[in-house]
């Protein structure tokens, strides 16, 4: 059932597809224009960086302001620790990403394209560098590779813009948002590399083709990074709308017994494995349901691991990755991490559990970027799903729980 769309063509073991092979297999890249915006709208493609925002709408918001002077940032920063799909895509199909970025530039009226690739993703950086050198001079003249710093927030879109403008990859207060005023004050499209690669195929084969790839009303395919207690962790491409159970089967099945699934990565949330199994992995559907496929992380927690310990590690990581610009994020996440860690060690202070609930609600919506929101959404999912464990840890000092 594994879908091959972005990863159609040579086997992964063959490494990056060359420009010659790419062009021979897929034909010459069509030109991007306003009609492509309509095609993208009809295709139903949504962004794959985490926000699941409609790609056509996003391009249009930049196109409407560009006057030919916009900037495109292909976002391959991939700072989410559990995600590897963007670096894998850039390592194996760099020309799809570059095609998509150039199409975007033509469609929104941009002269300049920045390929923003996480510097820690060495294989992806090498692949993209080599790929760019293979392109015709007219492409090379427009596109520049820009290594992104290895922090969690570097891929946040205002942080990407800030990095280009000033060399500091921290989010800035919005508005203005990048599509209004971004690189050098110009309207800027910041689009995840997987979204761009999909656009490159939609431009060739059309919206009806893209829609036909999905299942149960969902459209297209999605790249996922499957990790945790599975037999074969890794990056896979599946039709949108297939279920978590189907994905886990593709990953060789669960190792041991699943307790919970972390869907969407550190910014996502825990879902009980019984509920997750039949959930359809459809970015649009999940978003409408108040959930999120995020950047496509599916990580399985088995029933041997201590959910409190795992959750404490994640919230601590998110606290460390705060850009330390906004007080509620910096101090709030630090407080949340410290209390969760004490509970995970079964050495809580009085009121730790109540504080977790209070602080999670208090921090939400109070950063310049959504980093604190993602972190507290994760925290709240942990508090909800692992409620018995948290309660036992909070009240369990020296008390038998049996």
């Amino acid at each position: 059932m594994s879908a091959l769309n972005l990863f159609a063509g040579p086997a992964p073991s063959a490494g990056a597809e060359s420009f010659t092979d790419h062009t021979r297999r897929l034909g010459v890249r069509p030109k991007g224009n306003r009609a492509l915006l309509d095609t993208l709208d009809r295709s139903g493609l949504v962004g794959r960086g985490g926000a699941s925002f409609p790609v056509g709408t996003k391009w249009r918001s930049v196109a409407g302001r560009s006057r030919g002077g916009a900037v495109v940032i292909a976002n391959g920063a991939e700072g989410e620790p559990l995600s590897r799909k963007d670096q894998t895509l850039m390592a194996l199909r760099p020309h799809l990403v570059i095609d998509g970025a150039l199409l975007a530039a033509e469609a929104v009226g941009a002269k300049r394209v920045l390929l923003y690739v996480g510097e820690a993703h060495r294989v992806a950086v090498a692949s993209m560098t080599r790929a760019l050198a293979e392109r015709p001079a007219s492409d090379v003249a427009r596109a520049t590779l820009l290594p992104a710093p290895p922090s969690y927030v570097a891929g946040e879109e205002s942080a990407a813009v800030h990095f280009v403008n000033s060399g500091v990859a921290t989010p800035t207060a919005v508005p203005p948002r990048p599509f209004e005023r971004g690189v050098d004050g110009r309207p800027t499209l910041v689009q995840n590399v997987e979204s761009l690669a999909h656009a490159a195929l939609i431009a060739r084969y059309g919206d009806a083709w893209f829609q036909s790839l999905g299942r149960h009303g969902a459209v297209g395919t999605v790249l996922l990074t499957v990790s945790g207690a599975v037999i074969r962790p890794g990056v896979i491409e599946v039709p949108s709308g297939c279920t978590v159970d189907e994905v886990l089967e593709l990953a060789g099945g669960v190792r041991g017994t699943a307790r919970a699934v972390l869907l969407g990565g550190y910014f996502g949330g825990w879902i009980s494995s019984s509920r997750a199994g039949t959930m359809a992995l459809d970015p649009k559907g999940l978003r409408a349901a108040g959930g999120s496929l995020g950047c496509g992380v599916v990580s399985v927690l088995d029933d041997v691991a201590d959910p409190l310990e795992v959750s404490a590690r994640i919230i601590q990581h998110l606290a460390n990755e705060s850009a330390a610009q906004c007080g509620p994020c910096f101090f709030g996440l630090r407080s949340l991490a410290a209390a969760t860690t004490r509970l995970a060690r079964r050495q809580p202070d009085d009121g730790d559990l109540a504080h977790l609930h209070r602080w999670a609600a208090m921090v939400k919506g109070r950063g310049a970027c959504r980093h604190p929101d993602g972190a507290v959404a994760f925290m709240q999912s942990a508090l909800s799903l692992f409620e018995p464990e948290f309660a036992a840890a909070a009240g369990g000092r020296g008390r038998m729980v049996s």
Binding site: G47, G49, G50, A51, S52, F53, T57, K58, S61, N75, A77, E78, G79, E80, D86, Y152, V153, G155, E156, E157, T170, P171, T172, A173, P175, R177, F179, E180, V190, Q191, N192, G265, Y266, F267, R287, S292, G294, C295, Q325, C326, G327, P328, C329, F331, G332, S335, R358, W359, M362, V363, R366, G367, A368, R370, H371, D373, G374, A377
Partner: protein, 81 residues
Amino acid sequence: MAQLEMWIDRTKCDGHRLCAELFPEGITLDDWGYPIITPGAIPPRLLPHAQRAVDSCPVLALALRRVARPSAPAPAPTATT
């Protein structure tokens, strides 16, 4: 007259707490001393208080802005949009 709301640049705010003293009707403090702003339009009778809070912020983190519905993409929670 256009309705006004309090806007804060969180990256500038250092938690000096003056705003909450001068405009308690619209600003309270969180457990770390940073302002929690009551969302929405500020009632006209409270605007002088709000303006004093804005004017007294030592790091110019506060501003009064016209209440506007964002017409363009508001990014959902994400690290890598």
